[in-house]
Amino acid sequence: MENSNSAGNYRNDSLLNEILVTIFMSLNVADLAAASLVCKSWNEACRDPSIWHKLDLSRLNSYYFNVPNKLRAWNDEHSNKKMTQFIKYVLSLSDRNTTCIIFNFYIYLRDAQFITAAERTPNLKRLVLPKTGELSNVAVEKAMKSWGGLESITVTSIVRNSNKFSAICKYSKNMTEMKFSCDFVEDHADAMIEYTRNLKVLSVRSIIVSMKALCRVLTFLEHLEAVNICHSMILDTTGGPRSKVVVYRTISDLQKRLAPSCLGKLIFCEDGNCLRCKNACDTIPRRQPYGPFEGIWREDEITSLAH
């Protein structure tokens, strides 16, 4: 008799819920959203906070979504609306527990999606922007205001414009990590020096980097511990617009310009002329498919900036 009693107690819903959560952890967010519609007990399991710390929209392929591996995907109004609704729904499941959002590399980001995400993730710490999109200054300001606790960001060409980038820096006083997936220029360096004084880690890998900008951040951001310049092409235009552009490729080139204390903070490609170094500096990305670009966006020698 005792035995059957304890069996009854054991077979409770919370344990089953725990098991369902374990299963759901391995699903991507689109499959998870579908699972949440199956029945009430699945829906409850789908709302478990442990599933939602990271919202990775870069892996969406499922019965309901088939994102083409093409830049500017889904930039029509219908798809955009669908995406906004989807973000709204999954973030209702997450119940403000999301601390990291990774947008989809290919999907065209617009104001509505961006603000929808921002309004529902007040505790965000890390943000990874997509490759293409169109955000208004107002939307960037509005979103960044609600993401006051942001500590880490991957910047892409959609916010490379100095107004938008300044807005990002202005509201993110706690920013400690930044990765650039567009070019890195002086305007960026100036905004960072003005607002994100606590920056510790910067990655400007596989892009075109302005030498002046690099020198400025290395000199003026006191807390900077590491700067990743792997596979990047560093251009120096100090001599004025008419003079020749100096290109720094290897660490020995940089030794001539930078103080030893700055050099120590750099993470660089030992080779300096490897295939990646050559590819990264291909300024006109004509090649198809975009897989390699997505790879560059995902990877980083600094593990906290990779995803």
Partner: protein, 184 residues
């Protein structure tokens, strides 16, 4: 001469037979454990399999006397129906002659034969018994089934009833227009 060779031949044969008998007896004695399920059914289970159950290992650590087959090891939270399934799974996977393809086929059939209620009970039993291989197999399979499927397929596959009221359903439908009309 002829007699001598006879006797030398039979003797080793005899001893081999005896030894085989001895082996059989010792094997039988050592290799079976008595397990009792929550609905008071006792099972004689090969020790090699029973020892794969975390719960059995734990029990024997606390009371090693139970390894003598007189006393049954109680499994409070496993019913005979689930234990039969668990044993079926482990006997198949323990079978030396089972090829990779056989196992794959077996696994598929094993899963297909279960309805959602049975699957739930089996998951709970596997979790209680701490049988890692089966538990991982079940959770991984369920995840694989859900992947890339629509809601209706998942409901049908597992035989899950849609327990939303029409009002809730309507609200969900509106909220989840991204899924088109496919999911209801």
């Amino acid at each position: 001469m002829a007699e001598e060779t006879e006797s030398t031949k039979t003797e080793p044969l005899k001893t081999a037979e005896e030894e085989f008998k001895k082996l059989e007896i010792t094997e039988e004695e050592e290799s079976e454990l008595k397990l009792e399920t929550s609905d008071h059914v006792t099972f004689m289970v090969e020790a090699s399999i029973a020892m794969k159950f975390g719960a059995v290992q734990q029990y024997l650590e606390v009371s090693p006397a139970a390894s003598a087959s007189a006393t049954a090891i109680p499994l409070h939270n496993v019913a005979s129906r689930e234990l039969i399934l668990i044993l079926e799974y482990y006997r198949m996977h323990d079978w030396v002659d089972a090829g990779e393809r056989d196992l794959k086929e077996f696994d598929e059939r094993f899963l297909k034969d279960l309805n959602y209620e049975e699957l739930k009970e089996l998951l709970l039993a596997a979790n209680y018994l701490n049988v890692e291989k089966l538990f991982n197999f079940l959770t991984k399979s369920i995840a694989n089934i859900i992947r890339n499927k629509d809601v209706e397929f998942v409901r049908t596959f597992f035989g899950i009833d849609n327990d939303y009221t029409p009002e809730e359903e309507a609200a969900y439908r509106e909220e989840n227009a991204w899924a088109g009309v496919k999911f209801v």
